[in-house]
């Protein structure tokens, strides 16, 4: 066979593999959306779930998912930012830095169910936080920290050293250079990383089953005092999220319309994660444009 023929065959095979991947993805997404989208209505998105009757919604689960996401990012973002800045800007190339990097890598490959069980033993039992938003947020932080740290570190590493030199040459300290020049220049990719990790957090179930709990007690949406247990903001109440809800309906749901609720909830979850991804790209591009052009 001549080289041209081999090349043609290889190209064909690669196209076929790529097409297969796309087909699987589109089929999966399409199936979930076709099954679920018809179930989505304003009532479905806003009303509480019902355990024994048909017609329940996912309002509280949806709120819980967003609130947990918000708290998890609130805790993990500053830590990741600090760790990323330390690793890329301050740490020298030595054994300790190497050890930290290895630890982060191991942490990032930890199965989320292990993170969940660790969260259960550590936050729920040891720290007596119970099944609560707070336990869930801490578990999600453990889950999110390594990946977010890596993505922030990479974002900073992509900023050319000549930017740092420019800062030093103007008499700026390392801290000023990092916070005022390097981090702002890396902001588009940092934000992309944060939003992508938000998508992962939003869809996470295993880490939350034993930490944030599997029940969604009724919330009083007119009470915004975080110290009241029925307040939506209360960090000590148990909070089943959307992803946990889907898992639960499918394993032990006894409401007559379990299938429909599950399909609708799955569609909402997929749409939310997709939105996070598009938002990440859009924000990153826009910020980059804002920094480089006009």
């Amino acid at each position: 066979m001549n080289a041209k023929r081999v090349d043609k065959i290889a190209t064909g095979v690669l196209y076929a593999i790529a097409a297969l991947v796309v087909i699987i993805l589109v089929a999966l997404l399409g199936y979930i959306l076709v099954q679920g989208v018809p179930e989505i209505s304003w009532h479905f998105l806003t009303s509480p779930a019902l355990s024994f009757e048909a017609g329940g919604g996912i309002g509280i689960q949806l709120f819980n998912s967003f609130y947990l996401l918000f708290l998890a990012l609130l805790i993990s973002l500053p830590i990741s930012l600090g760790a990323g800045i330390y690793l890329n800007e301050y740490a020298g190339q030595n054994t300790i830095t190497g050890l930290i990097r290895t630890t982060i890598e191991i942490l990032s490959s930890l199965p989320s169910v292990v993170v969940g069980l660790f969260g259960y033993l550590f936050f729920v039992v040891q720290f007596k936080l119970g099944f609560s938003i707070l336990s869930g947020a801490f578990a999600l932080t453990v889950f999110n920290l390594p990946i977010l740290t890596r993505s922030i570190e990479e974002a900073l590493a992509n900023i050319s050293d000549n930017q740092r030199e420019a800062g030093y040459a103007l008499g700026l300290s390392r801290w000023e250079t990092v916070t005022k020049i390097v981090v702002p220049a890396a902001l588009p990719s940092i934000i992309t990383g944060v939003v992508l990790s938000a998508g992962r957090i939003f869809g996470e179930a295993a880490a939350l089953i034993y930490t944030a709990g599997q029940s969604a007690p009724a919330l009083n949406f007119s009470d915004w005092n975080p110290f009241n247990i029925s307040s939506p903001l209360s960090p000590l109440r148990p909070a089943e999220t959307l992803a946990v809800h889907i898992w639960k309906i499918n394993s032990e749901g006894i409401m007559p319309d379990a299938k429909a609720v599950s399909a609708g909830a799955s569609a909402v979850l997929i749409i939310a994660v997709l939105l996070f991804n598009f938002l990440a790209r859009w924000l990153g591009k826009r910020l980059y444009k804002h920094l480089t052009a006009e």
């Binding site: 000549n162 030199e165 800062g167 040459a169 008499g171 300290s173 005022k180 702002p184 920094l291 052009a293």
Partner: protein, 270 residues
């Protein structure tokens, strides 16, 4: 042409100035630079006269950039610099020196234009604001003056809020010069500032430097010998980590005393 009697050249062909007749802005004494265990600069002591342009020339790897970057301690984290760097009677290579403050007196422009990912205005105003200058009127004035000195005010005066990254390479480099002189340094170090630019931008930068000479002491590393002969008053030739010859630019290009210098400027190596 300066009065030759006030300058003496030793056996090593390195010129020194009579301090009575020449104001020395910066000088090094017994400077050695090491990257790990290998010595990058072993003999390079020079004096730089105030309000003159001194060119450092030499083949790649001769240590001229290393020498230049040691002068405002940009090599601190990369290399070990031993010896004295005397500026206004102070050894700025000592540990007691506030490096950040020192760099406000000895500014630097790099080989590749490196504007910040900020607006043209912010590129200049940013470092000033970090040092507590917050009045809009003051900042406006300095931004305009610096851009005028860098000969680019007329081109960008309507676009001050646009991103500096949208400028052409030559304009970016002049913005970097404007940014460096905005903080009013005494001495400006330039590390091959025109090597990434086209001939037109290069000649504009050269004109700018000749203008700036009235108020700044300029030390410039260049690969381009025409450039050195066009703009500099004094020239030092580096090879293998040593300054081999230092003299008036006219002398060094017409009558080099060291054979290697002659070889280099006539294009035989490097």
């Amino acid at each position: 042409m300066a009065d030759n009697k006030t300058m003496t050249t030793d056996q090593r062909n390195i010129m020194t100035f009579d301090p009575q007749a020449h104001e020395i802005a910066l000088s090094t004494e017994d400077l050695h630079v090491f990257y790990g265990n290998s010595e990058a600069i072993s003999e390079g002591d020079l004096q730089f006269e105030r309000y003159k342009i001194t060119a450092l020339i030499g083949p790649s790897g001769s240590g001229k950039s290393t020498y230049l970057r040691s002068l405002n301690r940009m090599n601190d984290r990369i290399a070990t610099v031993k010896g004295k760097i005397m500026y206004r009677g102070l050894d700025i290579n000592s540990n007691d020196i506030d490096v950040y403050e020192m760099r406000r007196h000895i500014g630097m422009v790099f080989q590749r234009p490196n504007p910040f990912a900020k607006s043209i205005y912010e590129n200049i105003a940013f470092a000033l604001r970090q040092r507590g200058m917050n009045k809009k009127a003051d900042l406006d004035e300095i931004v305009e003056r610096s851009l005028r000195q860098a000969a680019m005010w007329d081109q960008v005066k309507d676009d001050l809020n646009k991103s500096a990254l949208a400028l052409s390479g030559g304009q970016q480099q002049r913005l970097c010069i404007a940014r460096a002189i905005a903080i009013k340094p005494d001495i400006l170090l330039l590390d091959e500032p025109a090597s990434a630019l086209d001939p037109v931008s290069t000649s504009q930068i050269e004109d700018t430097l000749l203008e700036l000479k009235q108020n700044y002491t300029i030390i410039i590393v260049t690969h381009n010998m025409q450039q050195a002969s066009r703009i500099s008053d004094y020239t030092a030739f580096f090879n293998l980590g040593k300054a081999l010859e230092y003299a008036e630019t006219g002398d060094i290009f017409t009558n080099p005393k060291v054979d290697l210098t002659n070889d280099y400027i006539s294009g035989n190596f490097g």
